[in-house]
């Protein structure tokens, strides 16, 4: 298994890009590219990463990349991979790096199609929980109650009225060869998942929690702290789905409370005790489901 010390010094996603200070996406992509290596082709939909990594004539990627549109990442990446194979370049990884809006909302149709066809690609959902590139609008992946520019905190309605869409679960429903969630606050787990995704065949899905200090109205030095808190509070579970089985990679140890997590982010500043309770209820419900699957798997496989 790869560890942090093994990561090559060479940067395939170089300094000089124009991401905001504390951007979780830049951090994740930099490390992902080190694991994937030079023989990689990147597909970027319209998102922050496209703008801050490569505004013509500058480019932070040292590998080829294609950008076409917002909603077609999975199908475009799949076509690149097929064409590369046809040209005898089978050793080349193809990775799509899409945001949460580009995945959970507008890109869902292409994502579902590519997953069903088991296209031989790595699809990464960098999840910063809103449309950040267009200026912090609500996506299907925005959490309950969060302020965004389209879910303002008004006198009558405060923030988003719905909970976050669970894309990981949707990918599990496609029975893809590999699906995992990861957090940059758990680098060993994240790198292991990058490496696993790289070495597997078929459709591989990664949902990475990527802090957005700008959009979350949070201090930029809290990027990793927030990523850690999200896992510890159970809001963002670290999971892996492989060969039809679900694994929980980390059990929250309660090092942080939900209140602490919400408090340092401006997007949750307006939360009432009732809203906090609603988030707790949601977390409990989701973990109950996760535990049900875990227990069920044990029963079926004979109590292992």
């Amino acid at each position: 298994m790869i560890n942090i010390k093994d990561l090559p010094d060479e940067e395939l996603f170089t300094a000089g890009h124009t991401a905001c200070p504390g951007c979780g996406v830049a951090l994740v992509v930099r490390n992902l590219m080190k694991v994937l290596g030079k023989d990689t082709v990147v597909y970027l939909p319209a998102n922050c990463l496209l703008v801050f990594s490569a505004t013509y004539p500058l480019d932070a990627f040292k590998v080829p990349y294609l950008h076409l549109l917002f909603e077609n990442s999975a199908v475009a990446a799949g076509a690149i991979r097929r064409a590369l194979k046809r040209l005898g370049k089978e050793h080349v990884n193809v990775v799509a790096l899409a945001g949460d809006g580009g995945t959970a909302d507008i890109g869902m149709q292409a994502l579902s199609g590519a997953a069903e066809r088991n296209e031989d690609i790595i699809y990464v959902m960098v999840d910063n929980e809103a449309y950040m590139n267009t200026g912090i609008q609500r996506s299907g992946s925005t959490p309950f109650g969060a302020w965004t520019t389209t879910t303002p905190v008004g006198k009558k309605i405060m923030g988003k009225t719905e909970h976050k869409k669970d894309v990981m679960k949707i990918m599990m429903a496609h029975d893809v060869p590999y699906a995992a969630t990861a957090s940059p606050a758990f680098p060993a787990d994240m790198l292991k998942k990058f490496e696993k995704a790289k070495n597997k065949e078929g459709f591989r899905f990664l949902q990475i929690y990527t802090t957005c200090p700008t959009g979350w109205r949070a201090p930029s030095e809290k990027t990793i702290t927030l990523a850690k808190m999200a896992v510890e509070t159970g809001i963002f579970p670290l999971l892996e789905y492989e060969n039809g089985l679900l694994t929980v990679n980390y059990r929250p140890k309660g090092k942080y409370t939900l209140e602490e997590y919400l408090k340092i982010q401006g997007r949750f500043r307006h939360f009432t005790p009732e809203m906090v309770e609603e988030v707790k209820r949601w977390i409990d419900m989701r973990w109950k489901w996760i535990r049900t699957i875990e227990e069920g798997q044990k029963v079926v496989s004979g109590g292992e």
Binding site: K38, D39, T40, V41, Y43, L50, V51, A54, T55, Y56, P57, D59, F61, K62, V63, P64, Y65, L66, H67, L68, L69, E71, N72, V75, A76, A77, G78, A79, I80, R82, A83, L84, K85, R86, L87, K89, V92, Q109, A110, S112, G113, E116, R117
Partner: protein, 394 residues
């Protein structure tokens, strides 16, 4: 040796793709195009065609897939119709500006509402500004021949633009006609394999395709794409000639003129109406009426010089249209008026066959009669004439 078979236009289109040795195809069904991708799947499953064949989840994804595959460096193909083309609209602008030579037959079908499945050009005509070369064909032989020619034109280094091959719903797509199938060796000699030199996604030669581009650079991209479309005119003429010497069928380049030499009036047609109009011209010539016809083969690039030259020798000219830009006129008419600016002859527009209604011999005769009358008087009674419309005086 070439062989002759009796096939539908859809089969001819699929066989053209097979002979062009496409390496990648994206498929999504839509009436009346579906048989093209069905035949392709048969070719792939029978081992006749060695290509990636991807059954995608929408036309938006079909076009996205062929653009991505072509950008990676393989010869790519898809086909669609009507709503499918409308759904592709967003994606269509990419291969032209990124200079990716994709070929796509579009079986012309009416765009809803009201929903219908028959022939109308309100699917392809609204795409005329997307940077695709647009050809309209008359019969199934031309369908097959044009798929092969389309790759030759698209992949020319002075062009590098995608080609949309418009063919009439049912009249071509589902109707059988005898078609001569050229042999593979002859096609290989005419159309060598695709070399992705200008655009590819290969780690050994990294390239960005489609980067985020500020105003300092985009206008030049627009200019270059426009230059490429203009350059396509000469390339089309050259490819038409080369094809004629290799396969013995000459389609005339951007337009085909029929009995225009001493014509008093001329009708500009496109699509299958051309065949009917050709018969009407012969019939009326026998009656001593000096009528002629121009078959518009390419709408993009538009043959300004050719149309102008024909018009300069006649007393009235009419443009047939199978779609309408509401409140303005048919697209062919609008474009034709642009070509004829300042020319003091009656220029008329005939709208017929919308929604797939048959355009019959008497309909076309009426168009010529109207043109002859306008030529006599020196002025058209009505510039835009709806033919065969319930409750409307033509």
């Amino acid at each position: 040796m070439s062989v002759s078979k009796v096939v539908t236009g859809n089969y001819a289109a699929a066989y053209g793709a097979l002979l062009s040795r496409i390496q990648f195809a994206a498929a999504y069904p839509i009436t009346p195009q579906t048989f093209i991708v069905e035949h392709l799947s048969e070719f792939v499953h029978d081992g006749l065609l060695d290509a990636d064949y991807v059954r995608v989840e929408s036309e938006h994804s079909a076009m996205s897939a062929v653009v991505a595959a072509e950008a990676t460096g393989v010869r790519s193909f898809t086909a669609t119709s009507s709503q499918g083309l409308a759904l592709m609209h967003e994606v269509l602008f990419l291969p032209s500006a990124l200079r990716l030579p994709i070929v796509m037959p579009v079986v012309n079908r009416t765009v809803a509402a009201p929903i219908g499945i028959w022939c109308e050009y309100n699917d392809t005509m609204p795409q005329r500004d997307s940077g695709w070369i647009q050809a309209y064909v008359e019969d199934n032989q031309e369908v097959l021949d044009m798929v092969i020619q389309a790759y030759k034109i698209a992949e020319n280094k002075d062009v590098l633009l995608p080609v949309m091959l418009s063919m009439d719903a049912f009249i071509l797509s589902h109707t059988v006609e005898p078609v001569e199938f050229p042999d593979q060796e002859a096609v290989d000699a005419f159309l060598p394999s695709y070399k992705a030199e200008h655009a590819h996604l290969w780690p050994e030669d990294p390239m960005i395709i489609g980067s985020f581009t500020p105003p300092e650079y985009i206008q030049e991209v627009r200019y270059q794409t426009d230059q490429a479309m203009k350059a396509a005119r000469e390339v089309i003429k050259r490819v038409t000639k080369d094809f004629a010497s290799a396969f013995g069928r000459n389609y005339g380049g951007l337009v085909e003129e029929y009995r225009t030499d001493d014509a008093e009036v001329v009708l500009v047609t496109l699509g299958t109406v051309t065949s009917t109009a050709r018969d009407v011209v012969d019939e009326m010539r026998d009656e001593g009426k000096k009528v002629g016809m121009v078959k518009l083969r390419y709408f993009r690039p538009y043959p300004f010089e050719e149309i102008r030259k024909v018009a300069e020798g006649v007393s009235a000219i009419g443009f047939y249209d199978r779609s309408i830009s509401y409140g303005s006129g048919g697209p062919s008419y609008i474009e034709g008026r642009h070509a004829l600016y300042g020319l003091e002859i009656p220029v008329m527009n005939f709208l017929a066959g919308l929604g797939g209604r048959d355009v019959r011999v008497p309909d076309i005769k009426l168009m010529f009669e109207k043109l002859l009358e306008a030529a006599r008087v020196g002025k058209a009674k009505k510039d835009i004439v709806w033919i065969g419309t319930r409750g409307v005086e033509p």
